[in-house]
């Protein structure tokens, strides 16, 4: 009376379940949030260099009197490549830029800088996304406008667009 195929039912149900899980993992429910750090000082951190030849990043270094950008990026992030020319343009306009590399390997960072150029004065390596989380940053790339006292004034989520470049330069000028 009992046929063998009934015994495969649990396996089939499990297959369906796992299908749903895999779907959910590939389309993760991102935890996007607006930074609660606007108009607050940068959280304290001390990140090691992300790659050889470029210094690491300490939060205390951000309060040296000069307004600057902190760019959260990663070599594995394709939009970050698209953003590189804008960062170069900002750099050329004299804007100091520091970077935080998220979950990145030193050799990949080096390769990335090789390919798209290096607009960064310092790059901290945030292997566990801890600084990223503390900043309320939800993805890469993201850019923070920091005033001379190390206080976060603005957060730009996503790629900096060409037309935003003069705007950012003006805003940083205004903070001086």
């Amino acid at each position: 009376m009992k046929s063998r195929w009934v015994l495969f039912v649990p396996l089939a149900i499990m297959g369906l379940l796992f299908g749903a899980f895999i779907y959910r993992l590939t389309v993760p429910g991102e935890t996007l949030i607006q930074s609660q750090w606007i108009n607050k000082p940068m959280p304290l951190f001390d990140l090691p260099p992300a790659t050889a030849g470029v210094a690491g990043l300490k939060s205390s270094q951000l309060a040296d009197g000069k307004p600057r950008l902190v760019n959260v990026f990663a070599s594995w992030c394709i939009p970050c490549r698209a953003e590189a020319p804008q960062l170069e343009a900002l750099k050329a306009a004299g804007v100091p830029i520091d970077g935080i590399a998220i979950r990145d390997r030193p050799e990949d960072v080096a390769q990335f800088l090789n390919e798209v150029g290096n607009p960064f004065d310092r790059i901290g390596s945030d292997m566990q996304s801890s600084v990223q989380i503390a900043l309320g940053s939800s993805g890469v790339p993201e850019t923070f406008l920091i005033d001379g006292k190390g206080i976060i004034r603005e957060q730009i989520q996503g790629v900096i667009l060409q037309e935003q470049v003069p705007e950012i330069i003006a805003k940083l000028e205004a903070m001086k």
């Binding site: 899980f21 609660q36 959280p43 503390a134």
Partner: protein, 654 residues
């Protein structure tokens, strides 16, 4: 040094697991017999080493060694000692190490104590347990190393979520984990028995105390978790059908079904394939639950941070284990001979219905928990809340309770229904009296709480029925255990019913000196004052609850934890509870309310009178206690110990 030693111990333990697995496989494929004698000591050593590694991690937290990443991220030197210790498992890596420790210890305990199984089945079981732990060793070492050092030690750590800084929560997850992982033993037994085709009473008897043991911890864990949510979240509820709660309930339901079906297999050698499948499902559900919580697949108040990489790793592990076990089941279960026959009206028959109902509830809870994921895949954003669960689980649970009443009064194999006819009417009468009284005096009561309380009346009387006319001293321990556990269900049900039906709630903005009436209490709000705790500041309210000439001071708090090292400040509400025989008074202090002049002259107060609410947790405790008595009766640990001693003595004289 401690961190490096801990990591080294993990590697050695992993190597031992590897050894058990390989030796077990070679032996089972007809290799040299000596290999089998390797597996036991290797399993014991693996258990000891993993426990030592966990001990070292605790030591790191106690010493606040901030050069270790895990400590720096999750602890703080200002934290009270007890929370430093609890912080060890209050995070992803530490909790995975705890999980692994319990897994390895379970293997060690089987290796030490299990003497009833055939040797090849035991070796297969230990090899399966080793295979399970091997995967989690890999996960821990490669993807979640708890002993990772920071290149630069920060001056102090990042603290712990203040919501997690609570004594109840500190010991709640480990209890649940023991339960979750304890089910791994049933899983391994099932896999072992499928491999050697030894599926029968011996296998069921060996598995039974393990199922009971882990189910006790699950029951305690869920009960404690419910109480934690009740007083810590300040929402006044005791069950929210939150995904995290559901994933602990699902293995509990599987365990409940399993411990009843394993009884049938052990006593009557029936339901064999079903028991094996449940044993596989039980631990599978534990893993799925842990995965859901750990991967952030479902967001909830309790969940940890999302990490897709770890999620993928865990998913792959689970696919191997669950898929492997279910494939083995599908291939082998067909060859299991049919079990002993039984009549529909018999103990077996009632237990089959019990199992069907339990698995149905399990399936419906699982459906509700995962449905939002499926719906999102189809483009709809949906949340499934308490109305769904109450609607599906409520009626089924009540039917289940009625079956539970009948089962113990039926004989194995075949029953003429005499005991049912003679004993059930009294219980039914008790239920009817409760129902009538509630309808007359209860006022407006919802249908589910009403039926719940009536069924509780039936169960309370009928659960004691198996003891009638018996010599109580000669009644075996497992019978006592069953009676107490079933009675606990009645207590729990009565608490749930009474709380939902007769709860009184008051929500006011009160000025100091005002009196609020809730239930039989006059509560005088005296005022607030600021206080400082070890790592937080708080506003403490003072209230005096007066009833029947007696007064009690209650002090709810609204706490503020400052943000440290880049964590945002967090606030929590500490409810004040006053427990009376008839229920609990529950007070939460809310926000200040500004008057016309802009000064805070009133405070929001939320007061509940919750009749019989503590019966819910008392019932949970009774269920666990009953199961514990049952386990003591079944495991015969003492007898086993003596037999072991005797064998050793014998060996000495030879």
């Amino acid at each position: 040094m401690i961190a490096e030693l801990g990591l080294a111990l993990l590697w050695i333990a992993a190597a031992l697991a590897c050894l058990s697995l390989v030796a077990g496989i070679i032996f089972l494929r007809g290799g040299p017999k000596d290999l089998a004698s390797l597996v036991r000591p290797a399993s014991v050593a693996q258990g000891v080493l993993t426990t030592a590694a966990f001990g070292l991690l605790i030591a790191l937290f106690v010493r606040s060694d901030m050069s270790v990443e895990l400590v720096a991220r999750n602890s703080n030197s200002l934290k009270p000692m007890i929370f430093k210790v609890a912080g060890t498992w209050g995070n992803h890596e530490g909790s995975m190490l705890l999980w692994l420790m319990i897994l390895s210890l379970s293997g060690a305990l089987i290796a030490i104590f299990e003497r009833r199984l055939r040797e090849d089945t035991l070796v297969a079981t230990l090899a399966a347990q080793a295979a399970l732990s091997l995967g989690f060793f890999a996960f821990l070492i490669f993807s979640s190393n708890p002993f990772n050092r920071l290149p630069v030690a920060p001056p102090d750590g990042q603290g712990l979520n203040p919501l997690l800084q609570d004594i109840g929560l500190a010991f709640h997850p480990p209890t649940l984990y023991v339960g979750y992982v304890g089910l791994s033993v049933a899983f391994s037994f099932a896999v072992g028995a499928l491999i050697t085709r030894e599926i029968g009473p011996a296998f069921a008897r060996a598995m039974r105390p393990w199922v009971l043991g882990s189910w006790i911890f699950l029951t305690l864990g869920i009960t404690a978790g419910s109480y934690w949510a009740y007083y810590e979240l300040g929402w006044g509820g005791w069950w929210f059908w939150d995904p995290v709660e559901n994933v602990s309930l699902i293995p509990w339901l599987a365990g409940a079904a399993l411990l009843h079906s394993v009884a049938v297999t052990a006593t009557r050698n029936a339901l064999r394939a079903w028991t094996v499948m449940l044993a596989v499902i039980g631990f599978s559900m534990s893993m799925v639950g842990t995965f859901i919580v750990r991967s952030g697949l479902l967001t909830s108040v309790h969940s940890f941070a999302v990490d897709p990489e770890r999620g993928t790793f865990l998913l792959a592990l689970m696919a191997i284990y669950i898929g492997g076990a279910l494939t083995l089941f599908a291939l082998r279960a067909g060859t299991v001979a049919e079990g002993k026959k039984f009549a529909l009206l018999s103990r077996e028959g009632s237990l089959v219905i019990n199992n069907l109902l339990l698995t149905t509830i399990l399936a419906l809870v699982l459906l509700g928990t995962l449905y939002p994921i499926v719906a999102e895949a189809m483009g709809e954003k949906i949340s499934v809340g308490p109305p769904y669960y109450n609607k599906v689980a409520g009626p089924l649970a009540l039917i289940l309770c009625l079956v539970m009443v009948a089962g113990p009064l039926l004989a194995w194999r075949k029953d003429d229904g005499r005991k049912l006819r003679s004993r059930l009417p009294i219980a039914a009468l008790a239920g009817a009296i409760v129902l009538v009284l509630l309808v007359i005096f209860g006022g407006h009561v919802g249908i589910l709480p009403l039926l719940g309380m009536a069924v509780a009346g039936v169960v309370a009387v009928a659960s004691l029925a198996p003891l009638w006319g018996r010599n109580l001293r000669r009644t075996p321990l497992p019978t006592w255990g069953m009676v107490i556990a079933h009675f606990g269900v009645a207590v729990c049900l009565a608490g749930m019913g009474a709380e939902s039906a007769f709860i009184k709630e008051k929500l006011v903005a009160a000025a100091p000196g005002e009196t609020v009436r809730v239930g039989d209490f006059d509560v005088l709000f005296k005022g607030v004052k600021p206080i400082a705790g070890p790592n937080y500041t708080a506003i403490e309210g003072t209230l005096v609850a007066m009833s029947g000439g007696k007064s009690h001071v209650m002090k709810p708090e609204s706490r503020m934890f400052p943000g440290l090292m880049g964590t945002a400040p967090t606030e929590t509400n500490e409810a004040a509870l006053l427990t009376r025989p008839g229920g609990q008074l529950y007070v939460v202090l809310g926000q200040p309310v500004q008057g016309a002049d802009g000064r805070a002259d009133r405070y929001q107060l939320r007061l509940w009178w919750k009749p019989l609410v503590w019966w819910i947790w008392l019932g949970g405790g009774l269920i666990a206690f009953g199961a514990a008595l049952s386990m003591l009766g079944r495991a015969q640990l003492l007898a086993l110990w003596r037999a072991r001693r005797a064998r050793k003595e014998e060996g000495r004289w030879k």
